[in-house]
């Protein structure tokens, strides 16, 4: 395929992905907004007012970047895992597999689809948060870059999950038993400086901590970790996972008999 034809194939996949999550907006866009609004009200307003300040900011200000990041990463992941697994389940993935579309274009299409949903939900949650607090911007490039990288990384993770999944149960196991604990323990609701030294060390093994703190740094200018390390770590994870995804597609594992 010529580069122009590859671009058309890529746009077709991305367009299809965007139309898919927009078509089912009640399932994809509304629930995270309701959940995050409840977090804002309960943790930010009600409980937050009694907590006082954290890292020099009101608890509401502190928690908003974490909640935006949480909605971005969970939605990027969910979009790719559910879309790709559904395509496998309905066998509509064969439409792509029989076409001359290169594997990396297929992968990029699904990943950018996930990124679009992650960003769409992140944007809506950000707009909702404005009803509760002002949004600071300490460093726009850091904010944008870490959100993009995180949504790419979680889209790739969703892709791997979808390839290996054999049932709809399998696509909820990783989010429930891995992602949710990592996210809740990843500094969304608290600064790890509140933890005993041992648990601070354990928390630093959690990759989500780096993404949440890098984004919080972009918004508020405060962080528990080295932001440079966060970018390097996320970039390495993206490269490794991208290679794994391409291998899975080219080997046909769980996709071709």
């Amino acid at each position: 395929m010529t580069p122009q034809e590859q671009w058309i194939a890529f746009c077709t996949i991305v367009g299809k992905e965007i139309r898919r999550f927009m078509r089912i907006w009640v399932q994809t866009l509304v629930p995270p907004v309701i959940t995050m609004s409840l977090y804002f009200v309960i943790f930010g307003q009600l409980i937050g007012s009694r907590i006082g300040t954290m890292a020099g900011f009101s608890y509401m200000e502190f928690v908003v970047p974490g909640l935006i990041m949480m909605s971005v990463l969970t939605n990027a992941y969910s979009n790719v895992v559910s879309s790709f697994y559904s395509a496998k389940f309905q066998r509509s993935i064969e439409e792509l597999l029989v076409s001359p579309t290169p594997n990396y274009v297929i992968l990029n299409g699904f990943v950018i689809g996930g990124v679009c949903r992650g960003l769409a939900v992140g944007l809506i949650v950000t707009l909702v948060s404005l009803f509760f607090t002002d949004l600071h911007i300490h460093s726009l490039p850091v904010m944008v870059l870490i959100v993009l990288m995180t949504s790419i990384l979680f889209s790739l993770m969703g892709f791997v999950n979808a390839v290996f999944a054999n049932s709809f149960d399998d696509i909820s196991i990783i989010p429930t038993f891995v992602l949710t604990p990592l996210t809740y323990l990843g500094g969304v609701f608290y600064s790890i400086s509140l933890l005993p030294e041992f648990w601070q060390g354990v928390s630093q093994l959690n990759p989500v901590l780096y993404m949440v703190n890098a984004f919080r740094y972009g918004v508020l200018g405060v962080t528990d970790i080295n932001v440079g390390l966060a970018f390097v770590g996320v970039a390495i994870f993206i490269i490794v996972l991208y290679a794994v995804c391409l291998y899975l597609l080219s080997s046909g594992k769980r996709l071709r008999a």
């Binding site: 058309i8 194939a9 559904s86 066998r91 439409e95 076409s99 001359p100 579309t101 071709r256 008999a257």
Partner: protein
């Protein structure tokens, strides 16, 4: 005339050890209407799966219009359209977007993709359903949707895996007409079907595959020539108690108004009718007991099974 599809020593052993293809060779010429026949589990769908890259081959080579699928798969895929046996599109997408998206996967610009989608949806009688979700279509419409989708990039080779399964007779006939038309316009067609009269009517050449091996590969006419006897069913006006005896013919009473007669190839039926007329028996209608190709198909498969039993016996 160039070769549309060339298969050499194609083998497939699945992970569970099942040997689906035992080294088949097959060649389909450009412009042909080719039937690939075989009982369930013979290896037809595995062969098609390998050609279109949904199944990984264990050994052998496949080339489509000279493009080897190992070395130049994108070019090979561009020449190929596949209509699978099972529905394999998203049930929640609209008919129009399923076809237009497929064109996009082949790199066709949006305007051309929409133009082609309209062309083939109209030709297959689905244009009015373009905004309906695929879920809402009947089984026959879904089959036609898959044909439209397979044609949207205008492949030179179209493979249809049982396209008329479960389709009513009227629709099946309209599909035959459509397939004949696109074949006449130059598209090479390979068809697998269990309706052997369909293969006899549409196809010029045929291969029969059984237990992972090609047991026959010839022209339909050539195959039919090997038929050395036919069985006809004669319906009589008179009620019969027993089959009449006619020298040189084997007659069997099926029911009181119906007899079967086995006639060797090339033998005239005049003598039979004359004898029946003399006996006061009037034949009011006559038909083949089974489709001619079906008889050959069954005999080839049975021969193969018998060979397999002998081979196993020898080995034991």
């Amino acid at each position: 005339m160039s070769i549309a599809l060339s298969i050499r020593n194609l083998q497939k052993t699945y992970d569970d050890g099942f040997e689906a293809l035992k080294g088949i060779d097959l060649e389909v010429k450009q412009g042909d209407f080719f039937a690939l026949l075989g009982p369930n589990g013979a290896g037809k769908s595995t062969t098609i799966g390998i050609i279109c890259s949904l199944v990984r081959k264990s050994a052998g080579s496949v080339s489509i219009f000279g493009h080897d699928i190992d070395t130049d798969f994108p070019s090979a895929k561009r020449e190929l359209g596949v209509v699978p046996q099972e529905f394999n599109f998203s049930q929640f997408e609209t008919v129009g977007s399923i076809v237009a998206n497929q064109a996009g996967y082949y790199g066709l610009k949006k305007s051309l993709a929409e133009q082609r989608a309209e062309k083939y949806l109209r030709q297959l009688g689905l244009w009015d359903k373009r905004d309906n979700k695929a879920l809402m279509l009947s089984g026959g419409m879904k089959r036609r949707l898959m044909i439209a989708r397979a044609l949207v990039h205008e492949p030179k080779l179209l493979i249809l895996d049982e396209p008329t399964a479960g389709v009513d007779i009227e629709l099946r006939r309209s599909m035959w007409t459509f397939l004949r038309e696109i074949n006449a316009r130059g598209t090479t067609i390979i068809l697998t079907t269990h309706y052997l009269e369909e293969a006899e009517m549409l196809c010029r050449n045929v291969a029969i595959i059984d237990q992972g091996s090609i047991v026959e590969n010839t022209s339909v006419k050539g195959l039919l020539k090997t038929l050395n006897k036919e069985i006809f069913v004669l319906d009589t006006r008179e009620s019969l108690a027993a089959a009449p005896a006619v020298g040189g013919y084997q007659l069997k009473l099926v029911e009181e108004h119906s007899i079967e007669v086995e006639v060797e190839k090339g033998r005239s039926l005049n003598e039979l009718f004359a004898t029946l007329t003399e006996a006061g028996i009037h034949v009011v209608s006559m038909r083949n007991k089974t489709n001619r190709l079906e008889e050959l198909f069954v005999s080839r498969i049975q021969n193969k099974s018998a060979d397999a039993v002998v081979t196993e016996g020898d080995a034991a």
